[in-house]
């Protein structure tokens, strides 16, 4: 029964990790840059939700109506002011730029909120639903449903809209996309905006389930990168599958064996998968054909 509980916990927690990783994989898929700031942007999302809840008493889930658009705007602003002007060595310079953005955001958050740990403690954060001997923490249930809805919305955007076609075209071949009239700058800007917006949603759940400060991003970014690599760069469904797989493996190993080996086991699985499928579980073999 403990193993079943661990599987359930892994699936529920994996859902909101998919939100955070989804933004990262989208950005790489379109822009070819690893957004090293994704971890701190998740923390920024958590702080925004925390500020709205503690000062204005806005429920964190409702607060997403504010934080997601704000973070979307942050993403677009970062693109136009910092990424677009880069003319040479675009990939490496973009990577360094996002690293710098992350460091700057961390410094600002530390200045405003200090290094004291905070958490978003709503009335329902400790609630749970019991089914026999299985426990379903309510906050993870809500987060999982929200993650599925948001990721489903993004998936719809990617595969059922004109913008989505433009985005996928830019992912496959940015040169050809420009040649057919797609404004790849706006596609990239919107993609970064979506990626950062997803970080806002993931950050809200992170803040509800963890105490955090500005330095909490370092553990996050390493996990998110591992998820994106396992799922396949550019694959939203890959990010979801990989997130759930990572958390289920970790949780099951933690109860059956030891938490110390949970993450190690996941990385062993990651290496084995990459040996068989270097593009990841659901990634494509050749994303770019230039």
């Amino acid at each position: 029964m403990l193993v079943l509980q661990a599987i359930i916990d892994g699936i529920l927690v994996g859902g909101f990790y998919a939100l955070m990783a989804g933004g990262l994989t989208l950005v790489f898929g379109v822009m070819d840059i690893v957004n090293f700031a994704q971890g701190i942007l998740v923390v920024l999302g958590a702080y925004l939700s925390y500020a709205l809840y503690s000062h204005l008493h806005i429920d964190p889930f409702l607060g997403l109506l504010i934080t997601i658009p704000v973070m979307f705007g942050v993403g677009i602003t970062v693109y136009w002011t910092m990424i677009k002007p880069i003319k040479r060595e675009r990939v490496i310079m973009s990577l360094l730029t996002m690293f710098a953005v992350g460091t700057a955001v961390e410094g600002i958050l530390d200045y405003i909120f200090t290094s004291n740990l905070v958490a978003i403690h709503t009335s329902y954060v400790n609630a749970s639903v019991r089914l026999g001997s299985l426990v379903f923490p309510s906050i993870y249930l809500y987060a999982f449903v929200m993650s599925v809805l948001i990721l489903g919305g993004v998936y719809y955007l990617l595969y059922r809209t004109r913008f989505g076609r433009s985005l996928r075209a830019s992912m496959q071949n940015p040169t050809a996309a420009r040649l057919v009239g797609i404004n790849t700058d706006w596609v990239s800007a919107f993609t970064l905006g979506i990626g950062v917006g997803l970080a806002a949603a993931g950050g809200m759940v992170f803040g509800l389930t963890n105490s955090f400060d500005a330095a909490s991003s370092y553990d996050l970014i390493s996990r998110l990168l591992a998820i994106v690599i396992l799922g396949g760069f550019g694959s939203l469904s890959g990010a979801l599958v990989a997130s759930i797989l990572m958390l289920v493996i970790q949780d099951v190993v933690a109860v059956v064996w030891s938490p110390t080996w949970g993450q190690t086991t996941f990385y062993i699985v990651l290496v084995l998968v990459l040996l068989i499928r270097p593009q990841g579980l659901l990634g494509r073999k050749a994303v770019r054909a230039q």
Partner: protein
């Protein structure tokens, strides 16, 4: 080298001694971060309690980067161990309490290495009605009646101002090192290094603001008696050791989650 302050493995010893003296041997669930300070705290208490008949229902170690504590909390809840000892930093300390509440498991006795000592941050993180009965160790606090503690506090406030509660435990650690050195030098009437070392290793017990000091062959303070604090009615009270400072009676059974207390 001599360590006047309680080393990591002694930080929970006051709690362990109290448990062994007042409770019949029962199952204990242990979990700790694999931290060079936290894990020895847990293992020191576990070693003492195991030698006094308490069995380990759960023993889980987790790395620093762990963010999901639900499987460990589930294992603790499934064991139904009445005593839970956690070697935590504040973030995981808060997360464990949240997860145990979600699992609807309220142990009879719960102590965390750190987290409950964070005052209002702890209350905000876990909820004011969930703090009752939770214990945490500490090596020093301004109100203790250990040797020269009141004088040290007065001296500090005269020199630096502020309030007694803002005095860092580092001050007490430094001051107690000076106290021990003073007592040793005054006894042997010499500052010779070799003479001092011999006297410090002679088995004599010194007094300090952190309590009695008696050095083991490796320089550890074998007489260290850290304090244990417990949340009672929304305030962190010193409860152990009995008779030092303003100790309140220990709440032997933690109230259920949400009951306050």
């Amino acid at each position: 080298m001599f360590d006047v302050s309680a080393s990591a493995s002694y930080q929970l010893i006051t709690f362990a001694k109290w448990l062994a003296a007042t409770q019949k041997p029962e199952k204990i669930a242990y979990a700790s971060m694999t931290d060079p300070f936290l894990q020895p705290m847990l293992d020191g208490a576990r070693s003492y309690l195991t030698n006094h008949g308490f069995s380990s229902a759960v023993y889980k170690l987790y790395p620093l980067e762990t963010t999901d504590f639900t499987p460990i909390a589930s294992a603790i809840a499934a064991s139904k161990a009445p005593v839970v000892v956690l070697g935590t930093m504040p973030p995981d300390g808060y997360a464990f309490i949240q997860d145990l509440i979600q699992d609807k498991f309220s142990p009879k006795v719960l102590i965390e290495a750190s987290g409950p000592d964070q005052g209002s941050a702890f209350i905000k993180a876990v909820g004011a009605r969930n703090t009752g009965g939770i214990m945490v160790p500490n090596t020093w606090y301004p109100g203790s009646t250990y040797y020269q503690n009141a004088e040290m506090v007065q001296m500090y406030l005269k020199m630096f101002g502020g309030t007694a509660n803002n005095i860092s435990a580092d001050v007490a650690e430094a001051f107690s090192s000076g106290q021990v050195l003073t007592q040793a030098v005054e006894h042997i009437k010499s500052t010779s290094n070799s003479a001092l070392q011999a006297y410090l290793h002679s088995g004599v017990t010194f007094q300090s603001v952190q309590g009695p000091v008696k050095f083991l062959p490796d320089g550890e303070n074998g007489a260290a008696t850290p304090f244990v604090f417990q949340w009672q009615k929304g305030t962190l009270q010193d409860v152990l050791p009995v008779g030092v400072g303003t100790t309140k009676p220990v709440m032997a059974v933690k109230p259920p989650w949400g009951a306050g207390g």
